[in-house]
């Protein structure tokens, strides 16, 4: 990557950033292209291998078996057959394509190449002369195009396609789909925009296209795409969408159309739409530098994290409307916490990190990955959660597919693009010379900084162990920024065995230096088990505690705690969990072992004057907690994240 060429003449996987902020004037950090980072760890990379070997092929079969590819093929082959399935099913094909495209950055898999080529052929063939692309509204419903922006997700599908096309272009060097995306975006730009330009000034019902258009602008330098993104963001907030009755679930707030985004005090409505919108708005800020927009993003982020977020990082409390609830409304068993909302949160946090360089966004990105995205995907890579409850009686199990299958391919594209989130470089290349280490995972990276390609080697058993060893492979002067997670009180840092000042949790520790080959940086993140309690307004968690260790949230399942009902045990504050590494359990995990107090609760009527309290303590019981991401991969039973203290 150089400062003069935005996109290489021939795209190469090693120049494929997930978010290409190279020319974004207001980016503090730039994600390092995923082709420049090779994960070699034993936690994330095995999951990515499953993504490549199991998830992507099985999802392709689902796309075939459920008619999602048929919907394109019937147009390309002019079969006259009808569209099948839900009107926004094209988006699943696009998300799968994006996942496959990022995957092509790392391995030339002929089978995957073949699937991608077929999907690309179908998409290209299904595009209309005028650039329109949506198989639901092609053939039988052409006269209804753009007739219901509120409900019909045409721009949402377009956004997912544009993202896929950009990924495809970046990792294959082919302009085939980028051209389709440009024609589609040009068509949309011709239809929608300010009324003063003779265009349709309408609000879209399901955000997603905003970040796609900004990325298309980054990929093409076509300013109209950025302006269109800005229009679609700015047009919101004037109650064009939603029921008149504010108490209706599908009110303006559901669609984030109740207030202009710069005035919104709170995250509201459909959780996935909300975080897709804020991700797009943050992308817009990275290009425009409008401080009012960044202030709004920070305000919304603070509201989300202090009033609306599960301890898992999951978002969206309500089944009704797949939506954010009232402040502090965070039921555990009925948590909606859609996997897609967690992925959207990661996307938003990645952009806030690029905009600010602040560690808290990388903290939440990591926390959300481990505790809100990974739980949505089975260890065998074949089944998925749509909702991710924090308490269960054994009835909530992952499924291979859904009628509304947004989550499965969203997981796939996130996992495929994951190396692109690990490292960043500083914004003002040439003046500021910095490498940011955002995520800890054993890896090899080759990072352009200070006019050089610097090799950096990371050795760690994170997230199981807090020891991280970084080896510089290239002599250069730059500043190495290491994220010190908010939880890492007592972290220590040394360079070539020489202790550095105590790093501050919740910030990036910076080491500026003339680095020499084989310089060694050692970071130690304390991995003590943390007992976490909730704000008192979270009513279900009164008197209860959750356990975390490092970046991982833990949970209790019946299968590990057969002797007791989980509601009948307490975790006294003096009970200190021990860790135990079990390489054969759940793909290899560190479990927590501890004593619990067996304190059965009186089980009387639903309400009564005498019924509550505890029987006399009935002795100690051995308890085992596993990482929450791994739950529901064995026999069904109770799940509890929060136990009585």
């Amino acid at each position: 990557m150089t400062s003069t060429a935005h996109r290489p003449e021939t795209a190469r996987p090693d120049a494929a950033p997930v978010i290409d902020t190279a020319h974004s004037p207001h980016a503090r950090l730039h994600p390092v292209a995923l082709g420049r980072v090779q994960l070699t760890d034993t936690f994330l990379e095995p999951r990515r291998k499953i993504n490549r070997d199991v998830t992507l092929p099985s999802q392709y079969r689902h796309l075939e078996d459920t008619g999602r590819l048929h919907n394109f093929r019937r147009i390309v082959d002019q079969t006259g057959e009808p569209f099948v399935g839900i009107y926004f099913n094209d988006s699943d094909v696009y998300k799968w394509l994006e996942a496959a495209a990022w995957t092509l950055a790392e391995a030339h898999d002929p089978a995957l190449d073949g699937m991608v080529a077929e999907v690309a052929r179908l998409i290209e063939g299904a595009q209309g002369e005028n650039g329109y692309l949506n198989t639901y509204y092609t053939a039988e419903r052409e006269d209804q195009r753009w007739s219901n922006l509120k409900d019909q997700h045409e721009l949402y599908c377009a956004g997912h396609f544009i993202q896929a096309a950009v990924a495809h272009s970046r990792t294959t060097g082919s302009d085939q789909l980028l051209g389709v995306a440009r024609r589609l975006a040009d068509h949309i730009d011709a239809v929608f925009g300010p009324a003063s330009q003779g265009k349709r000034e309408l609000t879209d019902g399901h955000e997603e296209i905003e970040m796609a258009l900004v990325e298309l602008y980054r990929a093409t330098h076509e300013a109209r795409y950025l302006q269109l993104a800005e229009f679609l963001i700015d047009v919101r907030g004037y109650h064009k969408l939603g029921a008149d009755d504010d108490s209706h679930v599908f009110n303006s707030a559901y669609y984030q159309d109740h207030l202009p985004i710069r005035e919104m005090p709170k995250v509201v409505g459909h959780a996935v739409r909300m975080v897709y919108l804020t991700a797009g708005a943050t992308d817009l800020y990275l290009e425009t530098g409008e401080t009012a927009l960044l202030s709004a993003m920070q305000r919304l982020w603070t509201h989300m994290t202090t009033r609306q977020m599960y301890v898992s990082g999951g978002l969206g409390a309500r089944y009704e409307g797949e939506a954010f609830g009232d402040d502090f409304e965070l039921p555990n068993a009925r948590a909606y916490t859609e996997t897609c909302a967690a992925i959207g949160s990661m996307m938003w946090n990645a952009r806030l990190l690029a905009a600010t360089g602040e560690a808290r966004y990388a903290d939440l990105l990591e926390h959300t990955l481990y505790n809100a995205v990974l739980p949505g995907w089975s260890l065998d890579g074949e089944t998925y959660f749509y909702q991710n409850p924090l308490s269960d009686e054994g009835q909530h199990r992952r499924k291979a597919w859904f009628g509304c299958a947004c989550c499965p391919p969203n997981v796939a594209r996130l996992m495929a693009s994951l190396p692109g989130y690990v490292y960043s470089t500083g914004a003002k290349r040439g003046t500021e010379r910095g490498i940011w280490v955002n995520l800890y995972a054993e890896s090899e990276a080759s990072i352009d900084v200070a006019g050089q390609s610097v090799n950096l080697s990371q050795r760690t058993r994170y997230p199981w162990d807090g020891q991280v060893e970084l080896t510089v492979g290239t002599a250069a002067n730059f500043t190495l920024h290491l994220r010190i997670p908010e939880w890492a009180t007592g972290a220590t840092l040394s360079v070539n065995g020489e202790a550095q000042p105590a790093p501050q949790p919740g910030s990036y520790a910076a080491i500026e230096r003339d680095w020499q080959v084989d310089d060694q940086v050692s970071l130690t993140l304390p991995m003590a088990v943390r007992r976490v309690r909730s704000h008192p307004r979270v009513l279900e968690n009164t008197g209860r505690v959750a356990l975390l260790r490092g970046p991982l949230l833990y949970a209790f399942e019946s299968v590990d705690n057969l002797d007791v009902a989980l509601d009948d045990v307490r975790l006294p504050s003096e009970s200190q969990p021990d860790t135990q590494e079990l390489p054969d359990l759940l793909g290899g995990v560190v479990v927590l072992k501890m004593d619990g107090q067996h304190s059965p609760q009186l089980q009387g009527d639903l309400y009564g004057e005498e019924l509550v309290g505890e029987d006399k303590e009935q002795g100690r019981v051995n308890l085992t907690a596993i990482p929450y991401y791994a739950w529901a991969n064995r026999e069904a039973g109770q799940l509890r994240v929060w136990l009585r203290e």
Copy 2:
């Protein structure tokens, strides 16, 4: 009422039972006709006066203003205008008509007579030649009749009409609408039934018609109506309705079509539909005496009351699907607790009481009336709650009407028919000679028992005071049964000053005697304030307590407790509430006054290791609780039923 004539030749208001079990072979008790009971109390009767003077006229205006009457008039007058509003809006007209009909039992109000006559004319005129009646499917949609029993509520509307027609017949003596109802029922009977009879063997999506058909059978002796009710109940449970995917909100359980009713272990799905179904099935039992059906009812009732019911008696935890949730899923702020579900519960309990004579059903009928129905209706009689939360921040306020306006006229018909629930007589007239006092409210009654019309006078300030004085006005030998509520530990009973054996809470105390004129029965129900706690599985109520006194649930509102945030106070167990009668507050209430402990909870982050606990105790605060039914009738603010203990 005599044992030979089922319905008098000319119906009279004083012979108008709400549930006419006179000839039901399996009724243990018979409700005394509402025309035979005159409420003279200062609690219920003033609300009923508001129902007559304010609620019924204002609802009539809403029926006009929202086009609900227009939908009939356009057919009668052949205006060619389209139907307006929601497809089941006819049902609101019918429920209003039923309310007006019961009201005519007590007062000949010319204005109300006029409204009833107009509505009756419109309904009669809108009925088709073949008996069909539904304005949504008349004129523009005739070809779609009965095409979507799952969603379109045609039988639900028919059921509400039949109930209204029976009430109209019983209180006016007119057969005008009963004839319409018979023609409608005959039409339905010709269309639906066992396939073996060449009829359409379909399951209805929204129960209601079952109890209506049984009542029509009682009013007409036409056995086909009872058989049709039985068919509609028995056809359920074979997964004809609902999504294939059981995790879908609109699955078979949502429609109570997942299991035959005799096999159902749990109340499930849409709460109103569930209790309307069980009310109808209990009506069926009263006629058939099928023990399997009664067993199922008792099993479902036990499940409902021990796993699914709010402390208010409210039913239906989930907004999503207006449905019962999982066992113990009872969130306070997000309680759905539709007013209609509480009314349905009263109807079901009244029928279980008739079937068994067990006090627990009358207990719950009363508790539901005071704490789950009355909160749904403002003190001024003009606004309504659809949902009845037990915790609020001041945003949930009653509304004058709703697009889906099922609750307002349902409250009206319940209040209008209320005298019909106060007394019952024993089943085997001539052998068992009994009067049952189900509800305590100052009243005069004239009750046919032991071959005589016995006058009974009830003097009490219940629910504010537990002293009840009954005076017998007619010399006769009969057994007087007095309900001793489950909560009335320490109740005492005397006759003419002579102490009787200590009555057993949760049962009817029986006094058999040759009663003389002016014999005096004194019942004292202790009115100590009860501190109630929840089953430990109700997570939001952990460590919290609610207050009840007599039949009334109490609640705390900010307007009475301005000095503190309600979450920042505790109600220590040694704090003993005093009562204070405030005749000018909220129509006259007894409030509870007590000391609370000001214990602000630390308000830190959403989650943290150190943030929970209490600041040092900051002294006593004065707390005031009002009856929950009266909440949200003053300035908006916080509401809490459950306070920290």
